[in-house]
Symmetry: C2
Subunit: 182 residues, 2 copies
DNA sequence: TGGGTTGGCATACCGATGGTATGTGAAAGC
DNA sequence: GCTTTCACATACCATCGGTATGCCAACCCA
């Protein structure tokens, strides 16, 4: 899985062949197919691992951001962007993921990990009356905005990444203000 | 290209084989490779066509929305969502596009079409002093939010699509309010 | 302690796929 | 009227994902 993850992250899913992976891992295709049913299943396992890693970082950041739900969400959003601003994450999780697994299947992983915390935070804020509007739509829009911002930063030249990330967080914060109950 | 577009839209890029396409089109692989250098190049041509179609709808909606730049942008956003809430558009343009061409190459098409108008509208509003914040970051976040909303609506059961679309537009409007100069 | 079963691979092989090299007839140019 | 170019068709190839089978050590059970 480590070999696969590395190849998928750098060359992408389609351009990575099983012979390459098993050669890196110093096993044979027989061994691979003993553990995984298909190339897509191997990718799914790798994706799941990446998702869990990002989700863990988001949770850690949110928990150490105090007790205010609003601050927790903002901290979680920033942590998500920081974790995803890494081609090995964005390529697997955000670009190839939907194409390989299909969007709905990919979304299940997204919902079960990083997007879940976002959804819970939004639902919590809506319940507190802090946030207005449709919870699902808000979650989707914010998730999409953050995913795109993550790729945007990840694909930018190294020296622009930090600046892009800060600009994204600032804009995101402003956008969230618009959703706040006035 | 019509045959390819249909197959790409329904089965996806990876699951569509060239023999299928040329059989549909009642030509041979030789004919295909006479016009396109590779499968990816054929996809690129199809994608470009789809992008232009969506962009045309966005422009038409924006132009018939009066002279206020703010209203024009909102109308354009709604038109984009309506045009993209169609699996044949979202699958090619939003899901397979980035994975097949690579994100940066895909973004060039996005920038040259639908996202361009969004960017111009945002730049115009920023110049008028109506909108604050980083123009690039705002464009990327909004573009990402709308792309995700489009897929969200496209993949939803038919009876939920209109409702999702309305909710997305309403939330988007609220988010834009947050970016407005107060 | 030994025969049978299972887990964990390796080897050999297969059909299909994207891509290429070559052939061919009609139209266009000189 | 000769030649070149265009627009394909045909035949072929390397590689890929996937499968069927072989093999051997570990483990169970008598």
């Amino acid at each position: 899985m480590a070999s696969a993850s590395r190849r998928f992250a750098t060359a992408g899913y389609a351009a990575t062949s099983l012979p390459e992976i098993v050669s890196d891992a110093e096993v044979t295709k027989g061994a691979l197919y003993h553990h995984f049913g298909s190339k897509a299943e191997l990718f799914e396992a790798v994706l799941s691992e990446v998702q869990e890693g990002v989700a863990a970082q988001v949770v850690r950041a949110a928990e150490s951001a105090g007790s205010d739900a609003w601050d927790q969400m903002l901290a979680g959003c920033r942590a998500f962007l920081e974790a995803s601003t890494d081609t090995s994450v964005s390529r697997i999780m955000l670009i190839d993921g939907p194409a390989v697994l299909g969007w709905s299947r990919w979304r299940r992983y997204d919902d079960a990990n990083s997007a879940q915390h976002l959804g819970e935070a939004i639902a919590e804020l809506a319940a507190q009356g802090v946030l207005t509007g449709d919870v699902d739509a808000t979650t989707r829009l914010l998730s999409g905005a953050m995913n795109e911002a993550a790729i945007w930063s990840a694909e930018a030249p190294a020296q622009d990444r930090a600046r892009n990330l800060d600009a994204a967080v600032a804009t995101l914060t402003a956008m969230l203000e618009g959703l706040r109950t006035r």
